[in-house]
Amino acid sequence: MDTITTQSPPRWRTMLDRLRNWSLANSPWLVHYNSGSCNGCDIEILATLTPRYDLERLGVKLQGSPRHADVLVCTGPVTRQSADRLRRIYDQMPEPKFVVAVGACSISGGAFRGCYNILGGVDEVIPVDVYVPGCAPRPEAIIHGVAVLLKKLQPDRAEEIDRLLVEAGAVVGEEEGIDEPNAELLGAR
C-alpha cells in the first residue's frame, strides 16, 4: 500500500483512497487460525464474537474462507508443523490484509518458547500489524487491539475511535502510565 511518490497524488486519488480506507475500517471480516494454541485465546475470541459484545455492530464478521477475509486473527505459538499452513492461509488472503496476533504465545512463543517443536511467535512467519498481549486476553483487550488497527487505517479518526472506546468503558491513554512504574523498577535495581 505504501508507495513512494515524488509529487502529491491527484485529488481524486486521495478521495478514492479515503473511501477505500473508510470501507475497510467499517467492514473488517476476520478469519481465525490457531497455529498451536492451548485454546484459551480461541475461546476468548469466540466470546468476543458472541451477542454479549456483538461485533457485527462494528461490521466485524467471522468468515470461513481466507479469500473473503481482511484480518487474520492468529492465536498460539507457531509450531514447525503449522508454519507452512499459516503462511499458505496468509498468501490466500487478498490485499489489503492485516494480521492481529492474540495472546502472549502468538507474540513471542509464550509458555512454549524454546520448545523443540516451536518456531516462536507469529511474526517469525508472517508480518503482524497488531499485538494483543494477555494469557488469555480478555474480549475487551481484543476489541482494543482491533481499535488500534482501525486507528492505523484512519489516523484522522483516531480521536473519535478513542472517544467510542471511552464510552464503552475503556481507559485510553494509560500506556504512558504503565511505562513509568516499570522505569522506576528498573532504576531501583
Binding site: S23, N26, S27, P51, E56, R57, G59, Q63, R67, P94
Partner: protein, 315 residues
C-alpha cells in the same frame, strides 16, 4: 429516450435498485440481530461491505477458466438487474413489458443461482465443488414448486374467466381489482414465499453455503470484485423476489405516490416474515430440503390447483 435511460440507470432500476437492495439487506441483518438480542449492524453496513470488496485484490485461482471466473459474476448481476426491469419495483409500473414476460422473469431470476453453481463447479476447490453440487440440488428442489406458485394467480384468473395475462404489468393491474390472492390462494402464497427463501439461500435453506461444513460453499474461491458482484446480485434478487410476490399476492399495484409507498411497506412486511422464519428455523440438510420440496411443496401446489379446478367445475 432520456426517460428510458434514467429509468434504466438510476430509478427505479439500476443504481436506485442496488441501493434499495443493500438497504433491504440491512433491514434483514438488523432485524435478525434484534431477534437474537444483539444490537446489529449500522445502516450503511452493506454499503461498506460492497465498497470494501470492490476495492480489494481479486485472486484468480489456478486450474479454473479465467474468462468464466470473471464473466460469471457479471452475468449474475446482469441477470438480476434485467429481471428487475419487468417487475413493478416500488409499486411503479414495470420499466419494460412484453407478452409472456412473467415466464422470462422467472427464468432470469434463476440465472443468479445457475451462475453461483457454475462458479463453484469450475474451480478446483473441494468446498466450491461440494457447494456447487448443493446449489444445483437445491435448485432442482425448489424451482418447480416456486415457479408454479408464482404462475398460480394468472391461472386462477384464467379459470375464473377474468382478464388474465402472462404479462406482469397487465396481471398486477387485474390483480388490483381482485381480493388479495393471499386470501384466495393461501397455499401457493406460502410456497412462493418459502420458495423465495430457498432461491436466496436464506436459512433454513442455506445448506449450499453452510459455513460450518463447507466454508463458504460455491463462492469459497471468490475474493474482491467477483464476490462483490455476487453479493450485489443477491441484494437485487431479494428486492425483485419480494416485489414479485407482493405484486402477485398482496393486491397488485395501485395508482399514485401513496400506492407506491404502501406497496414498499408491503414488501418490507414480507421481509419481516422472512426474517422471523430465518430466526425460528434451523438449517436443513440438503436431503431434507429435497424431501420438503418434492414431498410437500409440489404436492401442496398441485392440491391448490386441484381446488381451483374443483371450484371451476362446481361454479
Amino acid at each position: 429516450m432520456t426517460r428510458d435511460l434514467i429509468n434504466l440507470l438510476f430509478f427505479p432500476a439500476g443504481l436506485g435498485l442496488i441501493a434499495a437492495g443493500l438497504l433491504y439487506q440491512w433491514v434483514d441483518r438488523k432485524l435478525l440481530a434484534r431477534f437474537q438480542n444483539r444490537l446489529g449492524p449500522r445502516w450503511f453496513q452493506p454499503f461498506a461491505d460492497a465498497l470494501k470488496l470492490l476495492g480489494k485484490e481479486e485472486i484468480h485461482p489456478a486450474g479454473s477458466s479465467a474468462f468464466l471466473f470473471a464473466a460469471l459474476p457479471v452475468l449474475a448481476l446482469a441477470g438480476a438487474l434485467t429481471a428487475a426491469l419487468y417487475v413493478p419495483l416500488f409499486g411503479l409500473a414495470p420499466v419494460f413489458s412484453f407478452p409472456g414476460d412473467l415466464i422470462v422473469t422467472l427464468y432470469l431470476m434463476s440465472l443468479l443461482t445457475l451462475c453461483i453453481g457454475l462458479a463453484g463447479a469450475q474451480t478446483r476447490d473441494r468446498f466450491s465443488l461440494a457447494g456447487a453440487l448443493r446449489v444445483f440440488t437445491q435448485m432442482f428442489a425448489y424451482e418447480a414448486p416456486f415457479i408454479l406458485a408464482l404462475l398460480s394467480p394468472a391461472v386462477a384468473l384464467m379459470l375464473a374467466g377474468q382478464p388474465s395475462s402472462w404479462q406482469i404489468g397487465e396481471l398486477v393491474l387485474s390483480a388490483a381489482g381482485q381480493p388479495w390472492f393471499l386470501l384466495t390462494l393461501p397455499i401457493t402464497f406460502v410456497v412462493a414465499l418459502v420458495g423465495l427463501m430457498g432461491k436466496l439461500e436464506l436459512p433454513p435453506f442455506d445448506a449450499p453455503e453452510a459455513e460450518t461444513e463447507i466454508v463458504a460453499g460455491a463462492l469459497t474461491e471468490y475474493s474482491g470484485r467477483g464476490l462483490a458482484l455476487f453479493s450485489l446480485a443477491r441484494a437485487v434478487e431479494l428486492v425483485v423476489g419480494l416485489t414479485l410476490v407482493t405484486a402477485l399476492y398482496l393486491g397488485g399495484i395501485g395508482a399514485g405516490p401513496l400506492a407506491a409507498v404502501l406497496f414498499t411497506a408491503k414488501t418490507i412486511g414480507l421481509l419481516l416474515i422472512v426474517v422471523v422464519l430465518q430466526t425460528l428455523l434451523a438449517r436443513l440438510r440438503i436431503d431434507q430440503t429435497v424431501n420438503l420440496w418434492w414431498r410437500l411443496g409440489s404436492v401442496l401446489v398441485l392440491a391448490q390447483w386441484l381446488l381451483l379446478l374443483i371450484f371451476r367445475v362446481l361454479r
